[in-house]
Amino acid sequence: MRNMNKNWNIMTGNEAVALATKLAGVRFVSAYPITPQTAIVEKIAEMVANEKMDAKFIEVESEHSAMASVMGSELAGVRSFTASSSHGILYMHEMLNWVAGMRLPILMAVVNRSIGPPWNIWADHSDTMIQRDTGWMQLYGESNQEAMDTIILGYKLAEHKDILLPIMVMQDAFTLSHTSEPVEIRDEMVVREFLGDLNLPFKIDTNRPMGYGSLMPPDGPFMELKMDMKKSMYSAVDRFVEITKEFNDLFDANFPGPVEGFMMEDADYALITLGSISSTAKYVVRNLRNQGKKVGLLRILLYRPFPKDLVISYLRGLKGFGVVDRSSTYGPYGSLYMDVISSIYGKLEIPAANFVAGLGGRDVRVKDFEEMFTKIMEGEEGEIWINVGVK
């Protein structure tokens, strides 16, 4: 039974994101609609038009322009927001790098969708995995509640004075974006107090004109700037732990933080997942536990920066694990697998399999997770594609 004393409503992931931007006091929004993100843009435009949200909304002709315009507004010191999916994110790729390099704490909500061809509008993490080296932080949620909470936490993290980096917050296409489920609505006044005002030390000031992002020679501080970005990004893991604690105390919530260990305490075998498929994985873990199998699940929420020390601490003592990648990458293995393996290199020696599942919205079923657990318990390793070629 839900705690009926709290302020619940039933809403889709897209509606939760739109409402969260209002709660977070976003003052500027520019976005170009694309399936399955469209409802976010529509809902915000409606709230602005009905004066329920005190923000400026500007329509643009492309995602590249959407990112360019939020870059301008954020530089002016205004909390800004955009949202996109799939090919929209590819189109803004150049601007993503500019925004991160300029250290602008912009938040973009992403509804993860595959990349064509063939044309496909369903859930797949390829669209954001492809952007993992742009200098944006990445946060993957598994429920509509997290779709709301990651927006609030995302601004808090991005705008931290020692971090100042943009952040993408993800939810899966349709599985969350178009699914209605209960969401506890955070109190607007408390959210505003939690976030405070955006204070950008280098914002545009006509009394003190500056050059932004101008030419930097090889012996100029180019490398130093990149090193500082990486340092700030990796300090974000600890900051996120602190911020999560503050958030949970304030809202009586149970947001997990950078990673979530589910039944990991005495587990022998575990899967590592991202996003909404983790919910089904938990269901399977619970069932297998009831059958006496010592299994667990490690869910990564904060993917960039990659919380390597936390991952190591959870994996220590396992007899085997599997990493589930829901994206197509053409490196030796999937992106998440490579991050996990390079994090534990030289520290842990555990057999590990890399599962590829759920591309282009293919359902990742209960029996698929059961198959993955069976395989890792049998000690299988290498890249294994799940539920392919059986249609």
Partner: protein, 203 residues
Amino acid sequence: MMNLVIYLFNFSIWDLGNKMYEIRFHGRGGQGAVTASKILATAAFKEGKWVTSFPFYGTERRGAPVAAFTRIDNNKVELRTQIYSPDTVILLDKSLMNIINVTDGLKENGLILINSRKNDVLNHPELKKFKVAVVDATSIAIRNRLGDPAHPIVNTAILGAYAKISGIVKLESIIEATKDLSPSKINENINAVKQAYDEVEVI
């Protein structure tokens, strides 16, 4: 055991215990199957249940077959897969029985609620293994001027019938959810819910 006791003595038929209910809606684009799944979820949500409701995404156009799903549970719903073996199928358009396998995966003795007159589906071979209920939601919708006679919107009426025969959700909750989610003709929709509640028959 505890749940059984409550069931026998209180006749509190909407106590779900630890069971999760999965309901699949079939309709044609424009009949309101997606909204129906949302109204049902909202009604159960108002009773404190955990719910999820989601459409099956394909090409959306008027007249094409569409499906939508609702899960209802006392505890948080963790499953995020499609629904493969529903407890209940709700059929907004009986002609779909000729096009698709509407009972696909339906649990044995599961409930199928059909928008139809009783005689049209009586002795239908496909329905033998299931508990079948019918309500003429089309006539009820037309009577209440929901949609137009060529394209009546039957989703609210069928939910009134579901409230009566399923025991999962109360009539009042369906009415409250209908008020929240009907874009217009709220009173007409509520009347349709009530009439279907009275007229539904198990065969």
